[in-house]
């Protein structure tokens, strides 16, 4: 990009008048501000349950719908960040909080979010009666649940992994807890946090599309957004409208990547200690814009100054020294009481659940739901196997060719971020036309969105296979099957496992929307746990929703514990190349 480089030099430092980049930058900022203001007004529109939000299939309105969808994503991201700071820090600082927060997050990560949507929507509508804020909050909450948990977890892990010498520095200089948080903990966690936020964004798009148009208790709620646009287009069997929506979504994801995450990742490069800096640092034209225009740079300096005063706010200077802290440390019986309370809560929650399920269902029905769980699990297992057979060889082929892999990795990441549920209608039409068995042919939908995780992890693994290993293989004449078995597959194994875990997790979530699909008036149903949950969500049978979700959680957690975690630990200790 020579164009961006033209103004890079020492002379521009002294220039005070705006350069031509300033004009662009100004437009950029104004557009962002306008966007926020417009959305805030739209969101608080009065609304009654049962009232139909008119969703038009006019493609001219698509940018408006896309804007609404993007806004939900931003709000959810912001809330996730705040909760990350609060709960991540809390878990890292307090042993007692850690013992509750971390296992809770572990479980919440495995919960099928879409299953919960019906429950949370009812709750939020009750909270904000007569306003669209209720369903809006439920949609935002769905996105929030898809990203907050792993952000909190990463933040907690990185805070705990702060190098001991930095901790000592903070203590030797008597930094207050507030200063320590903003000067050491947050910057230290920044790269990992951003990377995770970006990765969970992909899931976020999927959920926002699903959450905008949802049927609860036979009431269809449509929030203005791309998801509703698609839902209406499906009802109307309007192929053209779906095509427009898919195109819009692609553009939106590209913009999101270019305007939000790429700049943030490029900016966060400076938080990494040097040994982690990649050879080719990530570039972003937005960051360059900020760094190279007078106006924006002044703005940046102001921002930095503001941040500095924020860090040094006097009120937060606690003068609590270790001695006073030690004397505040509670007696043993407080710990005992706390432990007792935790156990009591756990036991009563279990009893409540057991009673609720035993009271509402026969053993037969519970067994039936378990059977459905096995059906879905088998489906996911076969899909992962098939996808691996397809993508592992392709991923290795691509990854070993640097030119191809750079392009392919970018494409695979965008594809992974693309909400696959937008593409369901195309496949559904195909199934209907050829009268195919939905129990088999609906299955690929579950993995449609998450298969990319396998691909781009394998590519990532193959690109870092040391060149000398390949040369040794050449030298010894190790080719064909032996080469795959002894050199290639083992070296990508840890990466592949990471990809497969993510893909399987995504597939469980997707099963809720993928096992029941419709096109116009036709409805296809595949037998499985996902369709069970969807069916009772639509009819508003909360007891059965709870049963379905509980069983699904159980499946996900047990499979994680018994299959994925041991596999991952093995792959990491045995095959990870230093």
């Amino acid at each position: 990009m020579p164009f961006f480089r033209t103004i890079w030099g020492s002379s521009y430092r002294t220039k005070r008048f705006p350069n031509y980049w300033d004009v662009l930058a100004l437009f950029f900022v104004l557009a962002v501000i306008t966007f926020f203001a417009w959305n805030a007004k739209e969101m608080a529109t009065p609304y009654q349950i049962g009232e139909q939000m008119p969703i038009s299939l006019n493609p001219k309105l698509l940018p408006f719908y896309a804007g609404r969808t993007v806004m939900r994503m931003l709000i959810a991201l912001f809330i996730s960040l705040i909760s990350t700071f609060i709960f991540g820090t809390w878990a890292a600082k307090s042993k007692r909080a850690e013992r509750i927060i971390i296992p809770a997050i572990d479980v919440l990560q495995s919960v099928p979010i879409l299953g919960f949507l019906s429950v949370t929507i009812a709750l939020f509508i009750a909270l904000f009666p007569g306003s669209l804020l209720g369903p809006e909050c439920a949609a935002v909450f769905a996105i929030f649940t898809s990203q907050a948990w792993n952000m909190i977890f990463v933040f907690y892990q990185t805070i705990r992994a702060i190098p001991a010498d930095l901790e000592d520095t903070a203590r030797m200089f008597h930094l207050s807890a507030w200063q320590r948080f903003w000067r050491i903990e947050v910057p230290h966690a920044m790269p990992g946090l951003l990377w995770n936020a970006m990765a969970s964004m992909s899931a976020g798009w999927f959920f926002v599309v699903a959450a905008e148009a949802i049927t609860v208790s036979n009431q269809e709620i449509l929030l203005p957004g791309i998801g509703s646009f698609i839902a209406v287009a499906i009802q109307a069997a309007n192929m053209k409208a779906i095509g427009y929506a898919v195109l819009t979504m692609f553009i939106v994801i590209l913009i999101y990547d270019q305007l939000l995450f790429r700049p943030l990742v490029a900016w966060a490069e400076k938080f990494k200690p040097d040994e982690q800096t990649p050879e080719k640092p990530i570039e972003s034209w937005v960051v360059n814009l900020f760094r190279r225009t007078n106006l924006m740079r002044d703005f940046g300096v102001k921002l930095t100054n503001l941040f500095n005063s924020f860090v040094n706010i006097k009120t937060f200077h606690s003068s609590l020294d270790q001695t006073t802290r030690a004397s505040l440390r509670s007696h043993w019986w407080v710990g005992l009481f706390w432990d007792g309370l935790t156990i009591l809560l756990g036991v009563s929650a279990f009893l409540f659940l057991a009673y609720y399920i035993a009271h509402n269902f026969s053993l037969r029905e519970v067994a039936y739901v378990f059977l459905l769980g096995i059906v879905t699990a088998v489906r996911i297992f076969i899909l992962i196997l098939l996808c691996s057979l397809l993508w592992v060889p392709i991923g290795i082929w691509v990854g070993l060719r640097p030119g191809v892999s750079q392009v392919a990795q970018g494409v695979a990441q965008i594809l992974a971020a693309f909400p696959a549920n937008l593409l369901y209608p195309f496949i559904v039409m195909f199934i209907i036309r050829y009268q195919l068995n939905p129990n088999i042919w609906l299955s690929p939908l579950m993995i449609l969105g998450s298969q990319w995780y396998i691909l781009f992890n394998v590519i990532a693994g193959a690109t870092v296979v040391p060149k000398e290993l390949l040369r040794v293989a050449d030298n010894l004449g190790v080719f064909g099957f032996l080469r795959s078995k002894r050199v290639l597959l083992p070296s990508i194994f840890p990466y592949y496992i990471t990809g497969a875990i993510t893909a399987a997790g995504g597939a469980w979530n997707a099963s809720i929307v993928a096992e029941v699909v419709s096109w116009g008036h036709e409805k296809l149903i595949a037998v499985g746990l996902g369709s069970y949950i969807t069916k009772y969500t639509m009819s508003g049978d909360f007891a059965r929703i709870v049963l379905g979700i509980s069983v699904m959680c159980l499946f996900v957690i047990v499979i994680n514990r018994l299959v994925w975690q041991p596999l991952y630990a093995y792959a990491e200790s045995r095959y990870l190349l230093e």
Binding site: P163, D165, D168, F173, P187, D274, D321, Q322, Y570
Partner: protein
């Protein structure tokens, strides 16, 4: 006599090992630090010298005894003590200037003054022109200069340094040392005393007015030496060499050394981190015609370019295995050592195996357990939990890893990494 700045009274430190056991790492440390002196604390790795530094600065609380800083008992990091770290401990996301300002921010000093003082400190330490650089743009030496500027900008009374030059190459370290000494002598810093920890004998003698020699297991003060050589000190000065020899002799006649010589080590002995190939290489040099099986330790250290942290573990293993003897600063190869080094690869393994079984109780214990077991197998966790009664978790792991490496070389036992299982190499 000048005023006492820091005084320790019977300072002790224990670390928990295993369930209820404790290991003494520092035992009855008593010393005084006076105004106007530079003290070097010299010891092998693991002798507890860094722990002492942390206790003196208030970062770690002692298990027994008291540290006084200007008459006040130290319980927390003391304002007035500046600290420089081996790993620099700079915040990678802050510029040089912001890093230096950190301590002033914590003091709540207003922005303008903060800026001014930081720039002055940067000036003084020779970092002009690097104010806006990020630490990762700087070389190791420049990074440590930031470390110094950051410690000095808050006008500390005492400067404490934990192996401040050991992460730097020789030239850079020398350059930084002489700059620091110049700064100290010019009295521009307001510092009243410097205390640093090192494992380099030369470094201690080159900089300190007083060297405190530490002995290990448990860490305690072996002796104190006053160094009265005039500055600048040259390490080829015969008086300098004399001091080096004296300290080597002191360090090789520690009570611990006598324990090894008499074969009095037990299961809980901290086996040195030495690899078989390293000690074999050392024996080959000793056995070379020009050395006739005997060398002066300072010479050996120079020849191999190893400091005592890397050299002493090797000599220790050689002593344990009876392949060499160390006394009064000299190392001499034994007959068994000669036999070992002159044998071929397979024969070497045999000799090593015999000595390992005979003189390393832990190796013998593992071997016996495996022989006794019906399938000649045992989980590594069993031995690990045994060692954890003596050491911290990390140290136990290190000791076991070391003995496994020796045992594998000697073909005394085999080890399956994935299963974590030890077994007999050739079950009989």
């Amino acid at each position: 006599m000048s005023e006492v700045i820091i005084e320790t009274v019977n300072v002790q430190k224990c670390f928990k090992t295993g369930d209820r056991q404790e290991r003494l790492v520092l035992d009855s440390i008593n010393f005084k630090m006076y105004e106007g002196e530079i003290i070097a604390v010299l010891g092998k790795s693991g002798s507890g010298k860094s722990t002492l530094l942390r206790i003196l600065s208030g970062l770690t609380a002692p298990s027994g005894g008291t540290v006084f800083y200007r008459g006040q008992a130290v319980n927390n990091p003391v304002r007035g003590i500046g600290m420089v770290f081996q790993t620099f401990a700079l915040l990678p996301w802050l510029t040089v200037l912001q890093n230096v300002e950190l301590g002033l921010e914590a003091l709540g000093i207003a922005k303008v003054e903060r800026h001014e003082r930081a720039l002055k400190a940067i000036d003084m330490i020779g970092l002009d022109g690097f104010e806006t650089a990020l630490p990762k743009e700087l070389s190791g030496g420049m990074r440590q200069r930031v470390g110094f500027a950051r410690a000095l900008v808050v006008n500390p009374d005492v400067l404490m340094m934990d192996e401040p030059f050991s992460a730097l190459d020789v030239l850079t370290a020398d350059n930084l040392k002489s700059d620091l000494l110049d700064l100290w002598q010019s009295k521009k810093t307001g510092l009243n005393a410097i205390l640093f920890v090192t494992h380099s004998i030369e470094e201690a003698i080159a900089m300190a007015d007083r060297v405190i020699v530490f002995s290990a297991d448990p860490g305690s003060i072996r002796s104190e030496l006053k160094i009265t050589l005039p500055f600048p000190r040259s390490d080829i000065d015969p008086r300098f060499r004399n001091q080096v020899d004296r300290i080597y002799t002191l360090m090789t006649t520690e009570p611990q050394e006598e324990k090894i010589q008499e074969g009095m080590i037990d299961l809980g002995y901290r086996l040195p981190e030495a690899s078989v190939s390293e000690v074999t290489g050392l024996l080959e040099i000793l056995n070379a015609p020009e050395h006739q099986g005997k060398m002066d330790l300072p010479d050996l250290s120079n020849t191999l370019m190893l400091d005592i942290d890397n050299l002493f573990p090797l000599t220790e293993l050689l002593q344990i295995l009876r392949f060499a003897r160390v006394s009064a600063g000299d190392i001499t190869i034994t007959d068994q050592g000669t036999a070992f080094v002159e044998a071929d690869i397979l024969e070497r393994k045999k000799i090593f195996s015999i000595h390992l079984k005979k003189y390393v109780p832990l190796a013998r214990y593992i071997y016996d357990q495996l022989v006794r077991h019906p399938h000649h197998r045992a989980l590594e966790e069993n031995f690990l939990s045994l060692l954890e009664d003596y050491f911290s978790e990390n140290e136990a792991e290190r000791v076991l890893r070391t003995v496994i490496e020796w045992g594998r070389y000697a073909e005394l036992f085999a080890y399956d990494y994935n299963a974590g299982v030890l077994s007999l190499e050739n079950p009989h």
